[in-house]
Every structure is written in C-alpha cells, then in structure tokens.
Subunit: 349 residues, 2 copies
C-alpha cells in the first residue's frame, strides 16, 4: 500500500500550538501545510457563531493556562463523512458505486433483470432507488461488496472512484468535498487533534481514498463493515469478504464504534443527520469544553436543501429531522448553515 508520492502523511508533525512552528516538517509536508492552512484559519468560513465556536474551542482546549486545557494525547475529534465532509445527494457515493456494480455484474447474474431490488437499479430509476429500505441496500451490498478479498475490493473501489462522476456537478466525487470542513480538519490537526472519520458508510470503501482525499490514514476511519474470513490459498493468507454484516456504525453504533476503535471520548464531533445524534450525545456527555456541530443543508443553489427540519424538503438520504434540530437547541449544539456560514462550499468554486 506504499504510495510513491504521498500527498499527505498519516502522521502529521507535532506542531507546538500554531501553524507557524513547522520546523520539523519535511519540505513536502510544509508545502502542504501552507497550501491547506493559510495564515488565517477557516478562511472559507464567514464570520459568525459557528466559526467563532470553533476558534474559541480550539483556543480554550490548547491553552495550557485554560481550565479547559486538554492534553495532546486526549485531543480526539470525530467527523461523519456523507453530508458532513462531502456531498451525499442525490444518493450516497457508495450507493452510486453499488449501483454501478449491479450494472457491471448483471452479465453474470441475469436473474437480476426481473428481481427486486436489482431490477429497479437496472432501470436507472434514481428516485425509487433513493427510497430503498435498509434491507434492499443490505442485499445489494452483500451481492456487490462481498465474495472477493479485501485487497481486490480496495482495487475495485479505487478504479471506480478515479473516474466516476457526480450526476449534477459532473465532477469526480472526491472533488465534492467541502472546503470549509477540510480547513476545519486541518485546523484541528495543526492543533494536535487526532481526527477520525466515523461513518455509517462502508469502512473499507472510505479507506480506499481517505489518505489521498482527507489526509486521514486508514486506521482513523471507523465505519460499517461486513465480516471477513482468514483463508490460506496456495500458501498465501487472504481475508475474504463475506455477505454478512459485522458492525453497523450508525446511530448508537457511532458511540459504540468510537469507544470500540478509539477507546476515549472525543472532544469534538461533527455530523449532519439523525445518524450522528448519539455520536454528539456521547461527545457532549464529557466534562470540560466539547464542540458538537451539525451541518445543515440549506443551500439549494450551491449544493442542496433538505431536512425535513426547519421546513426543508424531506429525504431518506442524510435525514436531519425536527427532533434533531430541537435536541441541538436544547443541548446547545452548533448548527452550521451551509448557506450563511460558508463563503464557498467547494475548492473549485
């Protein structure tokens, strides 16, 4: 898995508080730090409560004389992916991948042409596909994501994501990452926070591109996973993917997954949907300063607008319902308005 020209290393240099002390970073790392972390942090954020909450939190937890100071080894921050770090509409990127896999694999599985949920997929009816049940998706995932080795699966994802394009933006999915969130990831990392992705999506799917796209190494991606089996074939060990759910990293699974993989409570957590509720509750239950944030998709022009919280369109993809908004108010979680808090959404704008 060695990449000859790593865009970013898995380990960031330990910086002593601010972006200016990059003495130890290699030249390449320094160049990246400069290009990704400009003089002023969070450059793509408008002034306002959300930006201020981040700046205050980081200052408060990294200032040794603050009563909310957090030792570097305890600085953990967790990020949902879909709808928090990149676009999730009209359908999760991994779902798009699964649909493409159905189209490729139908030659070997002709019975799919008349068998649900595959026949709906093959008819390219995205609207109906967006209403698939979890059971429908499980069936599609088990038939398109299992049966091969872990290494082979990663290769399949890599090949797909290198070329597949988003139906509206006509760009690669990996270009549809939110620039303000990348700056937030960087600002936390510069301040010695260890950043994790905690996704309801497939752990191995995200791990195929996390280093290149987010500068986050595979061991800091926690996600849903299927079971694997250790086999020795012709003397060589392999891990084979089985059509069986191992861990569902969504809802309460996010709090459980954080404890299982990290073993300490985050000081900051970022999400955008009801699937992130328990992650934020778990984060907020710790003492001291804890930053809890929800990204609210209220910008139909530059991205999408959906809820149904606040009267926006209802959706099964990244649902942000009224009860979540109510809880955010009650528990003083910060809600980020994509329309008002973000100067730009994508780097290419």
């Amino acid at each position: 898995m060695a990449s000859p020209k790593p865009v970013q290393t898995g380990r960031r240099p330990i910086l002593l508080g601010t972006a200016s002390t990059v003495a130890a970073a290699s030249t390449a790392q320094r160049a990246i730090a400069q290009s990704r972390t400009p003089q002023a942090p969070l450059a793509s954020w408008n002034e306002g409560e959300a930006k201020q909450a981040i700046l205050d939190f980081v200052r408060d937890t990294t200032n040794p004389s603050s009563r909310h100071f957090v030792a570097p080894e305890d600085r953990i921050a967790t990020f949902d992916q879909d709808g928090t770090l990149w676009v999730e509409h009209p359908l999760y990127t991994q779902a798009m991948f699964a649909l493409d896999r159905v189209h490729s694999l139908v030659l070997d599985n002709p019975e799919w042409r008349t068998q649900e949920p595959f026949s709906t997929v093959l008819s390219n009816d995205l609207a109906r596909t967006a209403r698939f049940t979890e059971r429908d998706w499980a069936e599609i995932v088990f038939r398109t994501h299992a049966g091969m080795s872990q290494a082979a699966f990663r290769e399949i994802v890599l090949r797909w994501i290198a070329t597949a394009k988003h139906p509206r933006f006509k760009r690669k999915y990996t270009e549809l990452i939110y620039q303000p969130m990348i700056e937030l990831l960087d600002w936390l990392q510069v301040n010695q926070f260890e950043t994790f992705i905690v996704t309801g999506g497939g752990q191995d799917f995200v791990r195929s591109y996390c280093q290149r796209v987010y500068g986050i190494p595979t061991q800091r991606v926690i996600g849903s996973s299927i079971a694997t089996k250790f086999e020795i074939n012709n003397g060589t060990p392999e891990l084979v993917r089985l059509p069986k759910l191992f861990f569902n990293d969504n809802y309460d699974g996010k709090a459980i997954g954080i404890d299982l993989f990290i073993g300490r409570r985050p000081y900051a957590a970022f999400g955008n949907s009801t699937g992130d509720r328990q992650m934020l509750e778990w984060t907020g239950a710790g003492d001291g300063a804890r930053l809890k944030m929800l990204v609210y998709h209220d910008d139909p022009v530059r991205e999408y607008a959906y809820g149904p919280a606040g009267g926006l369109a209802d959706t099964a993809i990244g649902t942000f319902d009224q009860s979540l908004l109510d809880e955010a108010k009650m528990r003083s979680w910060t809600v980020v308005s994509m329309k008002n808090d973000w100067k730009r959404i994508f780097a290419f704008e």
Copy 2:
C-alpha cells in the same frame, strides 16, 4: 482520561529518520526520548541474530535509497501483549484479575461456592484454574467483566492493577514488562513506526493502563471485546458492557482485527504463541522487508520455560507448540531466545 503528568504522549514527534533529529519535540518529549532510547538502541539485547534482524529491518525500511524503503504512513508494527510484552505465567494477568473479581463478588453470588468453574476459583487451585477451558473463562469473564458501564469497568481495572502483585515476583504486574521489548517499541517509534498492541486479551482491560505502561494510546490497542449497549440514563448516555462476546482477537482473529482496526498490513509483528501464528503469516505475506518475530520462553531462572516446542514444558498458557516452531523455520521467522538474546529481562534487575 486526561492524565496531569503524562509519561508519554500518544503522538510521538515525527523524527527525520534517526534519533538525533528531535528538533521538533517539546522539552518533555525530548527528555523521554533520551531516557528511554539511549545512545545505542536495544541496549538490553545481546549481540546476535535477533538483535541484528531488528537493526537491519529498521535501517532497510527507513533508508530512502533502499529498495525496501517504506513511507512513514505505512510503517505499522503490531505486538502481542501476554508473553510478548509482559509475563503471562503462571496465568494471564487479566485471568488473575478475573479470579480476584470472583473472590470479591462471591458475597453477592453465594451460589458460586458450589458451582463450577467458580468453586475451583474460590478454592484457590491455580493449577486446575490454568487448565480451564475457553468456555470456563467465558463464563467467568461474562460474570466479572460485564453489567457495568465502560467507565466503571476501567476504574475497577485501574484500582486493581495499581496494587495487585505477581505471586512469584512479588511486584506489580505492570513492572513485569520486558525491558528489551520496551526498547524495541521505542526504537520502532523513534523511527516513525506506529506501534499497536494486538492482544487475545481484553481490549478494555489493556486500555486502562496502556498509555502509562507502554506509551501506547488506547486507539492503538486491539483486543478481544464484549458487546456494549448505548443507553441514556437520566439524560446521560452510557455504554453498558454486555455478557456477550463481540470479537475474539486471537488466532485468525488477529489478522482480521488488524485489517478491521488498522486497515493496512504491518511491516513488523511480534508474538510468542500459537495465537500469534496468523498475525505473523498475514504480516509475512506482504512484499518488501517484513520482520516476523516470536519470543521463546526458555529461561526458567530469570522468568519461565515453556513450549512445548523444543522439548520445554507443555502449557495451556501461551502455548508455543512444535508446529509453530517448524513454521517459523520454514518461513524464516526470527525466534528470540529470552535466555540468550536478552541481557536482562526486567528493568528492575
């Protein structure tokens, strides 16, 4: 979990190839690096094949002009704990903890006095206890390690391990770590390897002391675990431990666990028993330079001697059987003789 005086931070500074370039480390970190990594690495190792194999491997994988150079973000090393990093005889430390828990909890469970396996435990018959089946241990673990919150369990372990002593050495278990292996952990970390513990023992047990004892943060401890449940009690979320196995991180589970938690193949793996076989096989199946090592307990004077490989005493605790020794020879794994390769075993010697 913030410790006021951390012995070591979870993140090591990025050093540029050798121990001499510690410019970026804070004063505290530098002091630690100097105290734990003396001028010559592996000071407690005798000259010989094992020591040379480590030095050659580190040189080969960190030298940018070597054809076996490994990018820093791919430098992963995994260590078994029991029998590899610390003493496991006459019984695993966690088993000792479980037995003590049975003694404490019998007041609330008087039926244990006549019920196996508890009655054997209560009779203090260590020899019979050492022959317990996996099923016996599961029953003991479910009754002594579950039913409380994760936070409460960590507290119980912390209190126990702060005072409990080994029956032969009359020292705390955390003092019975192998000094040569601590030097090895340090030498790898100084050379930008990310070191993980991959234990068949309980993940949450080890996570209660890993930072203090090994300088390894909780998120780099992979172990066996029981299921937890997310509950909100009086408005506060808790993770409650259930009497149900979630993941068995032993044998093939070690390869599966490494892939699940880390997502990339180690370049170095260290074990001492048949439970580590698949971890070493998985590590060795990668390309380039891979270091695979087994610690062989052949020093009855300073520690213990058991196998049964090589004609040493048979044991159910940390079994190193002949087939493992044969495989080590066939696959060119390095076998470390505690008697011959280690100048000293414990720091207190």
